[in-house]
């Protein structure tokens, strides 16, 4: 039999066979997606763990792999990861530096960083920060942006306070040691850790003083132009998980424990951290929408421009793409 005579029945078989098979075996395969997180595995990432375990990602046609890196923005921009979680303020700086990445959906409705100190010692007016010793991870990230924005709101500069860097994020130990008067930290994390060590604390938050947009989902320009529906599907599945957890934090804790068993070592604190994190997302399930709020982005952009982090060459509209608002 000649090769051509062999080929025809084979082609016929390939064309006919799918129709004979059960429908599940020919359904669309899941799209492999890589998500990069900048912090260590933690209960604050419960929405991603839940979306994986409860099948929200799979229902959206996604098979998500979660990895951790310190260079989320660069790796997402370069297409080595599809999505990431990053600070909005970092997106503004990166985008202005020419890194092709956009903020696509809000995770934290409220800016998570605050100044934290022993109860009764934290000023309520940023102008009273003058002369204090403040511990922060370093001259990068949301903590640094929040600290400078607070100082600016009080009519101060970095030279009016003594700043001590804790690049290993161990500023809690510095505060407990008495090496600093105040520290920057996540409202949903450091206060709980300090209270667990017996220190009752007060907070100076930034929301009312100098609003900045909080962390959110990011994606690279290339993915957003080639497949915006993928970004919408990913953001929607994440939002669904956030809303589910907001309605029942225990579900989120269980998912986090299943993904990161070490979290079970202290379930009580982990649940408290998760509940505080839910407050930062927006609180009630109905208030968590992923919406990118121009009323916060505008002033935040202005603050970063005044502080010299960005030069205004890239407008805020070029830094965001609200994928949840895209038409179907």
């Amino acid at each position: 039999m000649s090769p051509r005579r062999l080929l025809l029945p084979l082609i016929a078989l390939v064309l006919v066979l799918p129709g004979c098979l059960p429908s599940s075996s020919v359904s669309e395969p899941l799209r492999a997606v890589k998500l990069l997180l900048g912090f260590r595995p933690d209960v604050q990432f419960a929405p991603f763990y839940l979306a994986q375990e409860a099948g929200y990602f799979a229902e959206a046609g996604l098979e998500v792999t979660i990895e951790h890196s310190a260079d989320v923005l660069v790796l997402v921009a370069d297409g080595r990861a599809d999505f990431g979680v990053a600070d909005a303020t970092d997106v503004m700086i990166a985008r202005t530096s020419g890194i092709p990445v956009k903020y696509i959906s809000t995770l934290y409705d409220r800016f998570p960083v605050a100044l934290i100190g022993p109860a009764g010692t934290v000023p309520s007016d940023p102008a009273e920060l003058a002369g204090l010793r403040i511990g922060t991870p370093g001259e990068f990230g949301s903590s640094w942006h929040a600290l400078l924005a607070l100082l600016e709101a009080g009519g101060l500069t970095r030279d009016d306070v003594t700043i001590r860097a804790y690049p290993q994020f161990n500023q809690v130990e510095g505060l407990l040691n008495g090496d600093v008067d105040l520290i920057t930290g996540f409202r949903s994390n450091e206060p709980l850790r300090l209270e667990a060590q017996g220190m009752s604390v007060d907070l100076l938050t930034i929301d009312e003083v100098a609003p900045l947009p909080g962390p959110g989902l990011i994606a690279g320009d290339e993915l957003l132009s080639s497949d915006p529906a993928l970004a919408t599907a990913f953001a929607a599945a994440t939002l669904r998980a956030q809303q589910t957890i907001a309605a029942d934090p225990q579900v989120g804790l269980d998912a986090a424990v299943a993904a990161v068993p070490a979290i079970a070592e202290d379930r009580e604190t982990a649940l408290a951290v998760l509940e505080a994190t839910i407050e930062l997302w927006g609180g009630e399930p109905g208030a968590i929408s992923g919406f990118i709020d121009p009323a916060v982005w505008g002033p935040g952009y202005g603050a970063l421009e005044r502080l010299g982090f960005i030069d205004g060459s890239v407008p805020p509209g070029d830094m965001v793409l609200d994928v949840l608002a895209l038409p179907d």
Binding site: A70, I99, G138, E139, G141, R164, P167, Q168, N177
Partner: protein
């Protein structure tokens, strides 16, 4: 002259290979900047004073860490080389200190010593200590036993034997340890800055990477560290040539 020409040729080849890599792969500057982009960024960092501000801090940490680490390492290495009992007692602790990753230990030292220059010098000294101490110990033991016997027969005290025989004969090995030590001192300073510092090249790397998303500036800081390492290594080699030849 010939040596300088070889070095310059090797540097030129490296720069051409680097440039070709960026052109052929089309890698964006935020992943792998081309050499001329890094050079332009270096000029701006030098012009603004930013580079020197951070370099001066790192150099002071390296030199102080090296001084503290090398001095104590030579003293301890000499004791280890001369006394088997001291070696048996101290060796496990020295090896244990060397085995614990300095990256994990550095934040603890930073907290214990209240941050600041002292903590950074200690971290730097700790990483420098081991190769120099071991080199000193090996060198002291390598002294010719016949010469040692001759010194004794001539009535030399233990101190004189150490100063006039053992240390001079240990110098070639000791300088081997120093060559390793100076390059480790550069790493030690950066690790110390990553544990807690407000300035220094390690801090500049963090700021460029995590704060400014300025990859060319990161390369400038890394190149500066490399130049410091090469310079210090060259200095040790030059001193070694003179001292060892004299001894």
């Amino acid at each position: 002259m010939r040596r300088l020409a070889t070095t310059l040729l090797s540097l030129a080849a490296f720069l051409v290979a680097w440039k070709l890599l960026t052109v052929v792969t089309g890698t964006p500057d935020y992943i792998l900047p081309a050499p001329e982009v890094v050079a332009e960024r270096a000029l701006r960092a030098i012009g603004s004073g930013l580079l020197w501000e951070h370099t001066a801090v790192t150099i002071s940490e390296i030199l102080l860490g090296l001084a503290v680490g090398a001095t104590s390492a030579v003293a301890v290495g000499t004791a280890l080389g001369k006394s088997v009992v001291i070696e048996r007692v101290l060796s496990p602790y020295i090896v244990a200190a060397q085995s614990v990753p300095i990256l994990a230990l550095a934040p603890l030292l930073d907290i214990w010593f209240g941050g600041g220059l002292l903590a950074r010098v200690l971290i730097c000294a700790l990483i420098v200590f081991f190769p120099i101490a071991i080199a000193t110990m090996v060198g002291i033991r390598a002294a010719d036993p016949l010469l040692r016997e001759m010194f004794r027969s001539l009535g030399a005290t233990p101190g004189q034997i150490t100063a006039r025989l053992e240390i001079p004969s240990a110098l070639p090995v000791l300088f081997g340890g120093l060559r390793v030590g100076v390059t480790l001192a550069v790493i030690g300073a950066v690790v110390a800055e990553w544990a807690g510092a407000s300035s220094g090249l390690g801090v500049l790397i963090n700021i460029a990477d995590q704060g400014l998303f300025d990859t060319p500036l990161m390369f400038v800081a890394l190149a500066t560290l490399a130049v410091i390492g090469i310079g210090l290594h060259g200095l040790v080699v030059s001193i070694e040539r003179r001292v060892v030849a004299t001894s």
